[in-house]
Structure formats: C-alpha cells, structure tokens
C-alpha cells in the first residue's frame, strides 16, 4: 500500500494559495495608494 503523504499535498497547495493571496493583496494595496495619490489636488501655484 502506498503512503498518501497528505501533508506534502497540503504543503504544496497551502504554500501556493498563501503566496498568490499575498501577491494579490500587495497589488490591491499599491493600487489603492496610487489612486489616492493621483487624485490629490495639486497645490495652487503662487
């Protein structure tokens, strides 16, 4: 009988899900920051 090694399966899927989720959150955060920055009114010129 072959061992199922579910721990390795969980590690592979878990690591992938975690890294992809972190990258997605990083993109969303950066997008919000830039949106706020680009919407700021320019200071009036003297």
């Amino acid at each position: 009988m072959i061992a199922d090694n579910w721990g390795f399966v969980a590690a592979a899927y878990g690591l992938t899900a975690l890294v992809l989720l972190l990258y997605w959150r990083r993109l969303a955060k950066r997008e919000r920051e830039l949106e706020a920055l680009n919407q700021q009114p320019h200071a009036p010129r003297r």
Partner: protein, 215 residues
C-alpha cells in the same frame, strides 16, 4: 473588464480544486501525493507563457519604443518569476516523497533554476537603473536572451538522462494518460492562465499609475 477576469479566475481556480480533489482519481503508483501535479504543471506552463509574452513585448518595445509594451513585459516578468518560483517549490515538495529528495541537480531542475535566476536578474536589473528608458531598453534585451532557456528547460528531459519525468501534456503524440487525469489538468491549466492574465492586467494598471504619479 479586469474585475470580470478576476471573478472568472476565482471560479476557474475553485473548479480546478474540485477537479483535482473530487474528480481526479488516486494515482496507482504514487498515491494521493500525485495531486500536486494539478498545481505544479499549470504553474510551470503558465510561467513559460509569461516569459514568452515578456520576450514578445520586449521586441515590440525595442522596435516601437512603446511604453505600454514595456509595462506588459515588466508585469509579465514579475508574474512569471512568482509562478516559476512556486513551480519549483511545489515540485520540490512533490519530489521528497516520490524521489526521496527535495532537490537534485539533474538537467530539468538545473535548467529551471537557471530560468528562475535569470528572470530574477531581469527584475533586479529593472529596479537598479533609475532612468526608465534605459531600464526598459537593457531589460528588453535581457528578456529576449533569457527566453532562449525556455526550450532548454522543456526539452532537457529528452536531451539528457534526468530523474524528472517527461512532459505530461506538451509531448509528441499528446497526452497518453487517462481522461480522468487529463480533464482536471486542463481545467487547472486554464485557471492558472486566467490567473496569469488577471495578475498581469492589474500589475500593468499599477505600473501605469506609478508612471502618472512620477510625471
């Protein structure tokens, strides 16, 4: 458009998970650990696409000096590095119970490690040059040269004696296994291609906003 792509990707990944764990059978020789294939193979194939798109966008940039093409190349490179890094990690996790080792310097693993390092170098090169035009030009050249490693990675299992198995999908004569394995693999491949497109679309949007903020 990007939001729709995001939802399509989420549905695709969810269906892919159901297919990998609910539809695909327990493999006869490896047992359930073989289910890692449904995430490992799509990650690697999507990274090939990412680096192919990077090379094409780099050629377009060098010919037309189009900033949009450079942004696509940059975004595709970043997502490609993420995917190939995860592909190496999941392959290593799969290798331990099946080969008895996390890593071995055979032709496939070595060539894919070189691919990862070259594109990591591509991103570092971009980040190390202040002038955006010069960064785009130099990295475009590196992006085109680095793409030459993609066929080397793919065909390494035929050209050298390796521990790594031959390709499952992209091989002469096509897929020869059971359809109960093929469909979950194809659905996951589609899901990861959608994820690649979604990430690139969002990264391009961020790069455009960064350029606007810097202007």
């Amino acid at each position: 458009m990007v939001r729709t792509l995001g939802w399509l990707t989420a549905v695709g990944l969810l269906v892919g998970l159901v297919m990998a764990f609910g539809v695909a059978p327990r493999e006869v020789t490896q047992g359930n650990v073989q289910r890692i294939m449904y995430v490992h193979v799509p990650l690697i194939l999507a990274s090939y696409v990412a680096f192919g798109v990077l090379a094409l966008a780099s050629i377009v940039y060098l010919v037309r000096r189009d900033a949009a093409a450079d942004r696509v190349a940059h975004a595709s490179g970043e997502v490609g590095v993420l995917f190939v890094g995860l592909g190496i990690a999941t392959g290593s996790i799969w290798g331990k119970p099946t080969w008895g080792t996390w890593w071995t310097w055979d032709a496939r693993l070595t060539s894919v490690a070189i691919l990862f390092v070259m594109y990591l170098g591509y991103l570092l090169l971009r980040g190390s040059i202040d002038d955006p035009e010069r960064a785009a030009r130099y990295s475009a050249v590196l992006g085109i040269v680095a793409a030459l490693d993609i066929p080397l990675v793919h065909f390494s299992v035929y050209w050298w004696r390796t521990l790594h198995q031959p390709p499952s999908l992209m091989k002469p004569g096509g897929f020869t296994g059971s359809t109960s394995i093929l469909w979950p693999l194809l659905v996951n491949l589609l899901a990861f291609m959608l994820l690649y497109a979604y990430f690139v679309a969002r990264r391009v949007r961020v790069l455009r906003a960064e350029a606007e903020a810097a202007a």
